[in-house]
Symmetry: C2
Subunit: 329 residues, 2 copies
């Protein structure tokens, strides 16, 4: 067991953590224990180019600084989509951000707010939050998996982010599980993301409900969406699974099994044995995470089996803000 | 470009590098430039338990020390199969070694030869050799792949071995490329090793030759084995490929493509962009490595594409000895 760490900070001191997403920019005042004291958010303006995004970010920062004195602010941490070079603050190709390319986001923020600015990839920042203040704090090394619309992640080694030589490490969603498999949005075939991302789970469930032979008890999913299959989402499938619906349980159990395939591959190569699962689907019932763990244990090399654990993330939506702050803390 | 490094050593000083295999133990006197000055070898006695293996190892070491004064020997580096904990010298579960389990190999050698002893996994040791004296010396970070009977490997980060928190990292052969695929010797399904390991390539070629319809020009492979299909080995397939044989080229190109699937998965996760390919099949014609590179480039995430390179290892069979010595150098 690793002790929860508290950074030595003077009383009243804080950090601003910024979680930049393709739709919203969220920011929070975070103290030395990782607690969020205040939050602000704004539209990210991702379609309007980097300058507009910078204005939105500095807007929420300044909003927070009206009530929390800048003299107590130790700096600004930002979690951003895309490949991020923490050394120079450059953000490359964030998906769903228009006219971006390569852009020195750290320098742009620094020029309007005179504070230390540190940037990391958003998934890596969330991984740091879980590592220091969440479900990962008992583990020195773990894979952090964000299982939501897509599948992303980060690698924590010795309680620090492993971003790789080029800053792009942790793309767990693009581990191939079938080289002749489904076409993924990235252009490759058989990436785990294309099997278990939220949209895929919903589409698959809809497909099965539309094509399975009538007769027998109808799935609870149909009841939960009032017969409108377009309303199927993972949260509905999860609710049906919790109520014992067979189809819903099958869909999730298979997804868990497939995630285990990808994780076992990664764990065989980097010999990390714990995965912390966050993202929207991490709210799914226990049996889903149990299916992931069973799959990893069944597939990983025998000498790597000891210590394999699949753990639910604990910080939820706030991991992005807390992790961004942790870049400074 | 990274300069070739030469360790500062007093004139005449050397290290003994030991390459422990399941059949043979090979050792060499290695100088500060990574050159092998003398070699000795013996049967590994792997079926007779750890004590017998230790006697074989100390035997070859002592043979080398009869002609090279122990006073000039800076230490002994050992590359061993299995999961190796470099910190305490314990070797766990080396495949094909009888009655082994966990055994403190470093302590056992040290007790009979009064010298510094450092142990690493054999694939990791070979990776170190390529990193410092071979094809990897121009790259700070790379994956080392040993493509032979099986598929093994090592990860070099910042010119050092990344062995992982438990010492078992680098098992590139057990990355799944098809979760419903071939049963691998490790018990999992679809590991890349079970598609491209030497035995598989030979079996597959034999199968195709036995079942393909007669007619057309016969494969050169049949000619090269004098009609005895049991004699098919990768070196024969390679020779036929070099002579333009279509089937031989297809078998290798497909194997290269599949290795690229596994490497792209790993490179997406750890963001290392160079692979150095060693092992028996690394002697295959250029088009095989070109097929690996084309496959990786087609499959890897777009932001990771820049700098992708697949390079042939340069030290051949001596990588094990040189890399073991490099543990001390």
């Amino acid at each position: 067991m690793v002790e929860r760490e508290e950074t030595m900070m003077r009383p009243g001191a804080f950090v601003i953590g910024v979680d930049l997403g393709a739709t919203t920019v969220k920011a929070g005042v975070v103290d030395g224990t990782g607690a969020i004291l205040a939050q602000a958010s704004a539209d990210a303006a991702a379609s309007k180019g980097p300058d507009a995004v910078v204005r939105q970010i500095t807007g929420v920062i300044n909003e927070l600084l009206t009530k929390h004195p800048i003299a107590d602010c130790l700096g600004i941490g930002i979690g951003s989509p895309g490949v991020v070079s923490s050394e120079d603050g450059v953000v490359r190709h964030p998906p769903n951000f228009t006219d971006w390319g390569e852009y020195d986001l750290a320098a742009a923020i620094r020029s309007s707010v005179s504070l230390t600015v540190v940037i990391a990839n958003d998934a890596n920042a969330a991984a740091m939050a879980e590592a220091h203040y969440g479900a990962g704090k008992d583990f020195k090394d773990f894979l952090f998996v964000i299982w939501g619309t897509g599948v992303g992640g980060g690698i924590i080694l010795d309680r620090k982010i492993y971003a790789g030589p080029y800053g792009g490490a942790g793309e767990i969603g693009h581990v191939t599980i079938d080289y002749r498999g489904r076409l993924c949005g990235c252009g490759n075939r058989g990436c785990i993301e294309s099997y278990i991302g939220q949209r895929y789970l919903s589409d698959r469930t809809r497909e099965i409900l539309e094509t399975r032979p009538r007769g027998g008890a109808p799935s609870k999913i149909i009841e939960l969406v009032g017969g409108d299959l377009r309303k199927i989402e993972p949260v509905i499938i999860a609710r049906a699974a919790q109520q014992g619906d067979t189809l819903a349980r099958e869909i999730f159990a298979e997804a868990g099994d497939l995630l285990g395939v990808a994780l076992a591959s990664v764990m065989n190569v980097i010999d990390v044995r714990v995965a912390v699962i966050g993202g929207g689907i991490s709210a799914a019932p226990d049996f889903v995470l149990n299916a992931v763990e069973a799959s990893v244990k069944a597939r990983i090399l025998t000498p790597h089996k000891a210590g394999v654990r699949i753990v639910r993330a604990s910080l939820g939506n706030t991991a992005g803000i807390i992790g961004a702050a942790a870049l400074i803390l």
